[in-house]
Each structure stands twice: as C-alpha cells, then as structure tokens.
Symmetry: C2
Amino acid sequence: MQDDADLLEEFGRRLRHQRTAIGLSQEELAHRCGMHRTYVSSVERGERNIALLNIVSLATALGTDASTFVAGLSRGP
Amino acid sequence: MQDDADLLEEFGRRLRHQRTAIGLSQEELAHRCGMHRTYVSSVERGERNIALLNIVSLATALGTDASTFVAGLSRGP
C-alpha cells in the first residue's frame, strides 16, 4: 500500500524508464501525444494525478502496454 | 486503437465485471473507496476520464490489480 505521493512518483519513474529505454526526449514524447513537454515532465516527477486517456496515450506512444505503468500499485481508501 | 468513448466504456465494463464477480454493489464498492455511488456508476458507464489514484483505489478495493483495467488499451495522439 503506497501513499499518494509514492504512488504518483512510482508511475513517473516507470514512465521515464520506458521513455529513456527507447531514447526519446520528453519533448518528442509530448509531441507524439499532443501534450506539452512541461506536462510530461511533471508527470515523470510524480506531480500529476494523470487521467486514464493520457495514461493510454503515453503508453501507446512508447509502444508499451498501459498495464506496465500501474501493475502492482495499491492504495487505501 | 480505440476512440475515447470506446476506451472509457471498456474500462467501465471491466470495472463492473470485477465488481459483480465478487458480488459487491456499487454502493459497497464506493464506500470502500471513499467515493460516492453515483461516481462509481458514472465510471462504469464510461462517462469519466478517471485519474490514476482512483483507478488504483478501485482495484485495491476489489482485490485485483490495476493492470486488469488498462491492459491492451491503446489510443492515438
């Protein structure tokens, strides 16, 4: 069970890991998703409670499955 | 590649499937997550672009992994 900050930061770490693994800059990834670079940056820092459609857009743009970003995360009520 | 409505509806179907599989009402699930029943209902109907923390709360409350809800979803830019 993670607290909210840990959970969002873990999501951000996974996103950054997937992005750098294929050698993409934040700007390139943002462009592919129709997002702004500063938005991608803030998600990677765990500062955003990112919503479903954007999660799926980022995963698709990175050629990975959205489940990669959320597997194993848990949260109390 | 799903359009946004299809994608949100698919998420909602999976949520409803997991909830009914363990015999939980929308009200009981909402209570476990500190949400309102009408919110859970609208997510199940695909009317909400639900954010990460709520996705993880619902999964945890259902005893399932958050990846169950998003695996295989994809979305264009």
